[in-house]
């Protein structure tokens, strides 16, 4: 059963996202929330890395954290799936065998 990885830090301040993507195996998933959502935005210096990861892992972004930071879902990198709310976060967690947090 695959793992759900979570990242809640900005990719410009911490290496959490890079480390996560470097260790996430094919078929696993990555949920970006809190400041982690900055890694989900199009056009940034890390966008190519995230887009490349989408070839082998699913990437999700938590909508309330995206909107809190001033962005709409249409600013996300193509292929990233939106999770509507924190209840959706819980539902997602139950679909994977474990949750691995990258703090």
């Amino acid at each position: 059963m695959p793992t759900l990885h979570t990242v809640n830090k900005s990719p410009f301040e911490k290496t959490a996202l890079a480390a996560c993507l470097a260790h996430a195996t094919a078929g696993s998933a990555v949920l970006l929330f809190e400041d982690g959502i900055y890694g989900a935005l199009r056009g940034s210096a890390v966008a190519d890395t995230v887009a490349a990861a989408l070839q082998s892992v699913k990437v999700f972004a938590l909508e309330p954290d995206v909107r809190a930071r001033g962005f709409a879902p249409d600013r996300l990198i193509e292929g990233i799936e939106i999770v509507a709310d924190y209840a959706g976060f819980v539902d997602l967690a139950t679909e994977y065998s474990k949750v691995q947090a990258w703090l």
Partner: protein, 135 residues
């Protein structure tokens, strides 16, 4: 009256993930009462503080972003945003709030508060300041 000093507030953190952005804003507003020469600088993730359309209803936190629009009323007219920091994040000036102040010497004409500067220009601004407050 004491000598006026150049106060330079350096903002490097995104809002909401940590308390730094909000704390900085509080200190800036308190400091505004002391009639100093105030500059605000937004570099690295600090540029995210100024994005428009912030909506925190889904995360149960106070949206403090409208407060930036009030800075002009506190006579804070110098807001510097680093171009390189915007570019690295895929942002343009259009993603940020339009901050203004009213010039009483020109019949309260509305003027832009934000100046986008290069990293080298930002470095020079830091050098020129008397006191740098880091957030």
């Amino acid at each position: 009256m004491a000598e006026t000093k150049q106060f330079f507030y350096l903002n490097r953190k995104a809002p909401y993930g940590t308390i730094y952005a909000w704390e900085s804003l509080e200190v800036v507003l308190i400091g505004a009462a002391f009639d100093q020469d105030v500059s605000l600088a937004f570099v690295e993730d600090g540029v995210y503080q100024l994005t428009k359309n912030q909506d925190t209803t889904g995360i149960g936190m106070k949206n403090f972003s409208p407060t930036y629009a009030a800075l002009g009323d506190y006579d804070i007219k110098k807001v510097y945003v680093e171009q390189e920091s915007l570019t690295e994040r895929g942002l343009t000036l259009d993603d940020l709030q339009h901050l203004t102040w009213e010039d009483e010497d020109e019949d309260w004409a509305e003027k832009d508060s934000i100046t986008v500067v290069s990293r080298a220009e930002m470095a020079a601004l830091m050098d020129a300041a008397d006191v740098v407050f880091s957030f």
